[in-house]
Symmetry: C3
Subunit: 326 residues, 3 copies
């Protein structure tokens, strides 16, 4: 397998995923997304019909997670195994591995390069997967979330979920609520949707957690219309999607702020009745800690547990298959 070294200007994927580092949603475009989502739909259909994947048979992929994660870790682990692959699993290596002996990130990933056919990395530092990519010469790395940087596979599963429901990724209207400052899933999602024309998003967040100005300007300069709103009553009633997020206690410098900011905006039956519509869907990257009333869970529009979670595995299967597969 030939790997292209990742540089600061990330390599575009275009039509060819094989052997490429997947660091940022910025590497994708409508063409590569079409290939990925077509593959995802095929894999989903096959799996639901009980057919097993073999794309990673004989492959060993390292899951190198420097930060707690349950759904991303498990989703990747299940995805690899359902494709016939095997894993080397590392969680919290700061506690269990050579990292505590003072080894550099570069040395660590080069060691795993000696044992495995690919790396999936979660790290608490923004840019760590890109740094790791530069140290690798033989195998590709996939970013599974880097600090308050990016979380590309989350954006991909969100986009696939929208695509599967509405048949398009352009001319969508939605609300994005919660932590828009540190929320890397929001940043990656908005970037991804900026590849398509006609999208409009209402941004609902506490003032302290607004979308950073430079990102606001970047997405706007692309093709997304962004409208910052301050209260639930400003939500338009014709949205296709409500995308809610959690205020991430672990990223706030001052923990006391958390109690003030958390759950400022909550999806309730009442709000859904006042501002929702029949054809919309409700999304959340999970975990949630109160932002969506559990009474909503049985509503057919609640997509976070029933659609996003399994789609996360399917889209990762497709990506793994295209990047690491034979």
């Amino acid at each position: 397998m030939h790997t292209q070294v990742f540089v600061d200007d990330p390599v575009k994927i275009g039509q060819n995923f094989a052997g490429k580092h997947i660091i940022s949603i910025r590497q994708f475009d409508p063409q590569s997304l079409e290939i990925l989502f077509h593959k995802t739909s095929t894999i989903k259909r096959c799996l639901q019909n009980g057919e097993q994947g073999e794309a990673l048979a004989g492959k060993v992929i390292t899951l190198l997670f420097f930060e707690p994660s349950s759904r991303t870790f498990s989703s990747f682990s299940a995805a690899i195994k359902r494709l016939g692959g095997q894993t080397i699993e590392y969680q919290n290596p700061m506690q269990t591995s050579s990292a505590i002996k003072g080894e550099t990130l570069e040395d660590t990933v080069r060691v795993f390069e000696g044992y495995s056919d690919g790396i999936v990395m979660r790290h608490f530092e923004e840019g760590a997967p890109a740094r790791a990519a530069k140290a690798l010469s033989r195998i590709p790395i996939m970013n599974a979330g880097d600090g308050s940087g990016e979380h590309p596979t989350q954006a991909l599963l969100d986009m696939f979920t929208l695509y599967e429901k509405f048949g398009r990724l352009d001319h969508l209207k939605g609300v994005i609520a919660g932590d828009l400052l540190y929320g890397r899933t929001v940043h990656s999602l908005l970037k991804g949707l900026s590849f398509y024309p006609g999208n409009t998003f209402y941004l609902l967040s506490p003032k302290e957690l607004r979308l950073p100005r430079e990102l606001f300007e970047e997405y706007t300069k692309a093709r997304v219309t962004l409208v910052e709103i301050e209260k639930e009553t400003d939500i338009p009633t014709d949205c296709q999607v409500w995308y809610w997020t959690r205020v991430q206690k672990e990223r706030l410098a001052d923990p006391s702020t958390y109690e003030v900011l958390k759950n400022r905006f909550i999806v309730t039956k009442k709000l859904l009745k006042e501002k929702g519509n029949a054809d919309m869907i409700i999304m959340h990257p999970l975990p949630r800690v109160g932002e969506i009333d559990p009474a909503i869970d049985t509503d057919p529009r609640a997509y976070y547990l029933t659609h996003e979670v399994p789609n996360g595995m399917y889209v990762r299967m497709a990506l793994l298959s295209l990047v690491f597969g034979k």
Copy 2:
């Protein structure tokens, strides 16, 4: 696979295990146990002849362990893999997963429902697996021990070990010693043996760790004769089984009590000579910390390491195969 939602009155298994939550030994009866033990014997024979299982080929099962465990965790992990299945493994998720971000148990298990074909759960809270079962709609869950509640697969392996040795589960006579108050393995075992007529057990424990009154009455009302004794000299010499247990330091409110209570009753060569007989067996759910003198280990009647441990894997293979298998 169709799953029956688990309710407070647990679904009886009867002749059909497929897709059912396994929460309590109370779901079993002599008929279902006969099916299970027949399957266990077959699997054991096949494996010892070097034949591999395929019942879980293509399946991914989540091991979700909220509490330290080595033998139950490893036994399930080995059982799944020896049936051709794969695992997602979670130990101590309070330290490594979304649980620390404040996610509810219900959300956590629903997420794993999106990735896997079944869940095996150990939890420190009694009732957690039953709560989780109610949150699931598509896949079954198996209780691998819930606080001081139940540990059904331990009871099943104990019963299989007795069944394999004596060819029956009725009209047995035995001693059960140690922590009968918090010992969930004892509670599940006595419940299981209460399905059969003519069983008599002598209960040997410190006063502080006696069998709870309501359980004593429940088992007695069923078909088990229970006799509380206070010292080793009260042990009858014609028992089929001595079932010894550890005083569980981690469940005692007052740790100072532990030093007083631990190892009140110990199986020694001397005791075995005075009160044992040639055809009996010695059992222990393990780990032990002094309740059985290691000098006993090479005695052919010592079944805890040589028979119970491997039987634990075989009976779990049979159960996994019947519940999750094709």
Copy 3:
């Protein structure tokens, strides 16, 4: 599979690896090493040609690691899986398993004997794997590092790397630098090289971390010429190998000593220019924390990341295959 019980005088391997405990490099000799390295070369060639191993198909091997490790753990895990085997993985069982409930090492390994076909053990106590071997009756155990005792598979990968490069293990000349007191990899390597005639090693270490006298005498009485040197200028320019090691903070009684001792001797471009030669190789058991300047990494003589790491997996595959395979 028949297992020979390991005793204080470890069982020699000779021509037959099957079912033997692998505790010490002392069990090997030139004949067994020739068999092992021939197997390693074959496996390496097959894997690089994309052929999959099947030697451990249907086998479950327990990785029981009582001490942090990343490369040894991952290397064994990958090796087992690339041979078609499965693993039960235990890291830091003091925190997650029955060990915290007070179980003895003997009971712990006997439990894993009930579930798996072999054990690979790392332990913080010297002699623990040998103790464990005595408790086992059915399956073999492999030492993956025991305190400041031995690390036989590290020595084997080091020797294979030398053998692959120079086509021989006799009449080699080299420097071994760093922590020669606690460095178990150094001890195992020197022992291994003492099986062959004509080897000469210059030992470069702080006075506080010199090779223990009894080992110095043992290797000298065998066939290794050892020369203690005190500074880089004493390095002869015609070495085949520079073997550098890390000062292990975690083994020093007094942590303040660490700051004084670490990085006393560093491989730099300057040193390599002054004392190196074109045909030599640079080795390190890793992790490194400054003993080798990263600027050296791209030098073709730098073998630690490019050759030793993958060879670690290949030699373990060969050993696992010979010991546990069909």
